[in-house]
């Protein structure tokens, strides 16, 4: 086994690690309690897995064929930049479309700011009804 083959093997292993990360994060998608926590799994581990994989591929082609794939590099950069944006956008959308946080969540600094007025309204209504009942 020469150096090249060794590097190729390393690349393959890199890909395998990526695959394992991917499965775990997919598992996270199922296991985690709400959309926000799941988005963590998606934007971080899944991104990592694809980056590992693409990097592995890049290395493989470089070593195996002497081929420097600009496309793969671009792909890596692209995923790297866009994955967090995607996570941000989906979370924001989820929150604004009133997808609740999982039970047992801690502070919610956004609630007051986004839905403050509505919350007050709701509260007043509840109190009003309570009064009526009394």
């Amino acid at each position: 086994m020469n150096v090249n083959q060794l590097i190729e093997l390393m690349a393959a292993l890199l890909i395998l690690v990526g695959a394992i990360v991917s499965v775990i994060s997919a598992f996270g998608m199922i296991r985690l309690p709400d959309v926000y926590t799941r988005s963590h799994a998606a934007t971080k581990s899944a991104t990592l897995s694809v980056l590992l994989c693409l990097f592995g591929g890049f290395v493989y082609f470089w070593i195996h064929d002497g081929y420097v794939s600009i496309r793969l590099i671009l792909g890596i950069i692209f995923v790297f930049i866009t994955a967090p944006v995607a996570g941000h956008l989906v979370c924001r959308a989820a929150y604004r479309s009133r997808v609740p946080l999982a039970e047992g969540s801690g502070d919610d600094a956004l609630n007051e700011i986004l839905f403050g007025e509505e919350n007050i309204q709701v509260k007043e209504e509840v109190e009003a009804t309570l009064k009526e009942i009394k």
């Binding site: 393959a12 997919a26 199922i30 479309s97």
Partner: protein, 94 residues
């Protein structure tokens, strides 16, 4: 050896896709599904990369890039749909 590793990796990625599919089907919320679909897209990118190695061809490398772009565009579209009901806005909507 390498082939075996790669194919194992492929199976794992497919497994990840299957798991994400579960989330797409199950939901429960729209953003859940959007994220899951995005994940499927991202996993497909990896899968295509591996297939390229297995088939020893560079023909699919564009597909990787395109898929990255599309997954991104798709996620934007979905999150806008979820958030605002429309995905392309007019200025007056601001």
């Amino acid at each position: 050896m390498i082939d075996l590793i790669l194919k194992t990796a492929l199976v794992l990625f497919m497994l990840a896709i299957a798991l994400s599919l579960y989330r797409v089907i199950k939901g429960p919320s729209l953003p859940d599904r959007a994220i899951a679909l995005d994940t499927i897209g991202v996993n497909l990118i990896s899968a295509i990369a591996i297939v390229s190695i297995v088939l020893n061809t560079k023909a699919f490398l564009e597909a990787i890039l395109i898929l990255g772009i599309l997954a991104f565009i798709g996620t934007i579209a979905f999150s806008k749909y979820i958030e605002r009901g429309v995905i392309v806005e007019r200025k007056s909507a601001d």
